[in-house]
């Protein structure tokens, strides 16, 4: 089975600030020592498990010099090939749509059975977009694989477990070729010794395949990044009173408890509401509270 794992580097946590991210996106310099993005470590572990002890896998990263950290760790995990993908215009942009196009174009010209991607928050669209472009199935949130089925040309598949919403899981039979994605911590990564890491660093210099993609265009405008700003919460929409109702009704609505649904913690000076009573009284009070907060329906 031919396995490709897509990995990417991240800024070390203390450096992940808006100004640094802005600088990194504009221009990469050697002072940026990236680290492997955590979900990619799980992806590497899955790729290693899928390849088996005798097999090897290919690691691919994209971007500029910061991707080197990811490829180093990939080599330490046992990647036999390391590929650095960049576009002719200098680097792949930080737009998932463009990255997915580039990855799909590169993978489509080769014969991989499984492509494994890390997905830090789980909501990154790149793995699914790659699968969509290639016309392959995608299984996200993989948290383990059970067994390979007998390999023959007509039916090649693998049994995986996938985490769904609300604690549900399912075991699936996925036919090759397939794109898989894992989130950080779903597949516990093994420790890689310092010695192996050092060997990977030394061995990487002469063993990275540089692949340059042509500038991709389909005649339509791409997504354009306008600005990076510190995170700021959006003003929440609230249930404002109907403008057609009378002034008295609108005032009543605004003053009433149902006017807004702001979730606020108790203010320091107010303190928490503490209730004493029998177990029955306390349980009933708790249920009233849960209903008020809409954790339980009123029916």
């Amino acid at each position: 089975m031919k396995v490709l794992v897509c990995v990417r580097s991240d800024l070390p946590a203390p450096m992940a600030r808006v100004d640094n991210i802005q600088r990194l996106m504009e221009e990469w310099s050697a002072e940026w020592a990236g680290v492997l993005e955590p979900s990619c470590r799980s992806a590497l572990q899955l790729a290693k498990d899928l390849s088996g002890p005798s097999g090897g896998f290919t690691a691919l990263s994209y971007g500029r010099g910061e991707c080197r950290a990811a490829l180093e760790v990939a080599r330490a995990y046992g990647a036999v090939d390391a590929v650095h993908l960049q576009s002719a215009e200098g680097s792949l942009r930080h737009d998932g749509n463009t990255i997915a196009r580039a990855l799909a174009a590169w993978v489509g010209e080769r014969s991989f059975d499984v492509v494994v991607c890390g997905n830090s928050s789980g909501v990154g669209p790149v793995p699914a977009l790659v699968a969509g472009h290639l016309g392959w199935p995608v299984v996200t949130r993989v948290d383990g694989f059970k067994k390979f089925l007998p390999q023959d040309d007509s039916f090649r598949a693998i049994e995986l477990t996938q985490r769904l919403d609300a604690g549900w899981k399912r075991q699936v039979l996925a036919r090759y070729p397939v794109v898989l994605s894992v989130q950080s911590g779903f597949i516990p990564p093994q420790y890689v010794s310092v010695r192996r890491r050092k060997e990977a660093v030394h061995g990487l210099a002469s063993n990275v395949t540089e692949c340059e993609l042509p500038v991709w265009t389909d005649g339509h405008a791409p997504a354009v990044l306008q600005a990076l700003t510190p995170p700021k919460p959006r003003t929440k929409r609230t249930a404002v009173p109907d403008a057609k109702s009378s002034a008295a009704d609108r005032l009543k609505s605004l003053m009433g408890p149902a006017a807004t649904k702001k979730v606020e913690k108790p203010k320091e000076d107010e303190g928490p509401r503490v209730v004493e009573g029998s177990a029955v009284e306390l349980a009933e009070e708790l249920l009233r509270f849960l209903r008020k907060k809409e954790f339980l329906s009123n029916s």
Binding site: D10, L11, A16, I21, G96, S121, G122, V123, G124, P125, A128, L129, G132, G135, V138, T140, L164, A166, G167, W168, K169, R170, Q171, V172, A174, R175, S181, Q183, G185, D218, H220, A221, A223, V224, Q226, L228, T229, P230, R234, K236, R237, T238, A239, V240, D242, K261, G271, P272, V274, V275, A279, V280, L282, A283, E284, L286, F289, F295, L296, S297
Partner: protein, 353 residues
């Protein structure tokens, strides 16, 4: 299946989520944003729902209309159960897009929705943005969206322009739900969906169990400490967790006493959780424990000691025997059979899969 050449309709398609029994909050938030955008440029707000036959009643559709939907399209199939499996919707969504390509698709930014929608729209060359905080049309009628970026360390403002379709996945809980207008109505069209699972076939389902539900991901956590008295107390706590669809957590003391595995420990030396609801039973609230749960949205604490530190972070504190309160809660919640009913419904739906 290229997008080029296809006519894009002036519509906003909202993908509605009803997997948890009622419309999810993010569905109503999406409708609020869709209505604002549509009113600005004269688009029509259409809603697409994937549901088991009979799961979406006319009154459910009326609720969508009250929040701004102009048309409701319900795609029904026995396999569409309470568990969201977007791969099952992909074929139906593509069939719909082949006939009617909307200008904008809005969907919840949760891992499985993003998976299903991104895989479905990729062949059309659509631009996809996930984890979005807000979306608006600028003066040139380009789509301007703000999304969480770089592990939520920053917000990035992106612009989508051109003729290709746009897909925006909205982060749940950021937009808020506006006041509905019950006087509004929308026609409901029901269609028979086709589910193709040629390449990824479900072999077995594993229902949620409080002891397996990931603490870090759980929206609700019920945690126990020394005050619930022993492993039997945790058995009752697990019952309560099942009724509330919550994960079971524990303090370090309970773990050290061997009442529950370490994987359930919340705190500095355990897991850091950020649920919407955290209920602490018999936990005094050592600073190490508080460090692991202080970001919970709503905290409820039950403890015999009125001076316990846990009450300082609790929105509601109940002074009493934690175990007795748990028993009482289980007794009060069980007759409604809400949880069992939902679970039975889920099992019945899944037995058809």
């Amino acid at each position: 299946m290229s997008f080029d050449g296809a006519i894009v309709e002036p519509t906003v398609l909202v993908l509605a989520d009803k997997s948890a029994g009622d419309w999810s909050t993010v569905t109503l938030e999406l409708l609020g944003d869709a209505e604002l955008l549509a009113n600005k440029v004269g688009w029509t707000v259409k809603v697409m729902v994937f549901a088991a036959p009979g799961a979406v009643r006319d009154e459910d559709a009326r609720k969508l209309a009250a929040h701004g939907a102009k048309e409701v399209h319900v795609w029904e199939h026995e396999k569409f159960g309470p568990v969201l499996v977007p791969a099952q919707y992909t074929h139906t969504l593509r069939s719909y897009l082949d006939e009617s390509m909307p200008r904008l698709i809005l969907c919840p930014s949760t891992p499985l929705w993003v998976e299903g929608v991104a895989a479905a729209v990729a062949p059309y060359g659509a631009l996809v943005a996930s984890d979005c905080v807000s979306v608006k049309l600028n003066v040139r009628s380009d789509l301007e969206l703000v999304r969480n970026y770089w592990n939520q360390k920053t917000h990035a403002t992106w612009t989508f322009s051109g003729q290709r379709p746009w897909v925006v996945c909205l982060h749940p809980g950021v937009a808020g739900v506006g006041r509905p207008n019950p006087a509004l109505s929308a026609p409901v069209e029901r269609h028979q969906a086709i589910v193709l699972e040629e390449n990824v076939e479900t072999l077995e389902w594993f229902p949620p169990h409080p002891s397996r539900l990931d603490l870090v991901e759980a929206e609700r956590v019920v945690a126990g400490g020394r005050g619930i008295g022993g492993p039997e107390g945790f058995a009752e706590l697990t019952q309560l967790a099942e009724l509330l669809h919550a994960a079971v957590g524990a303090s370090r003391v309970a773990v050290d006493l061997g009442w529950i595995p370490y994987s359930r420990q919340v705190g500095q030396t355990g897991k850091t959780v950020r649920p919407r609801l955290y209920m602490a039973f018999g936990i005094s609230g050592a600073s190490q424990h508080l460090d692991g749960m202080r970001d919970a949205e709503t905290v409820v604490a039950v403890n015999l000691d009125k001076e316990a530190a846990i009450f300082s972070v609790a929105e509601l504190g109940l002074v009493g025997d934690a175990r007795a309160v748990i028993e009482e809660l289980v007794r009060l919640l069980k007759p409604s059979e809400r949880a069992e009913g939902a679970r039975a419904g889920a099992a019945a739906a899944l037995s058809n899969v």
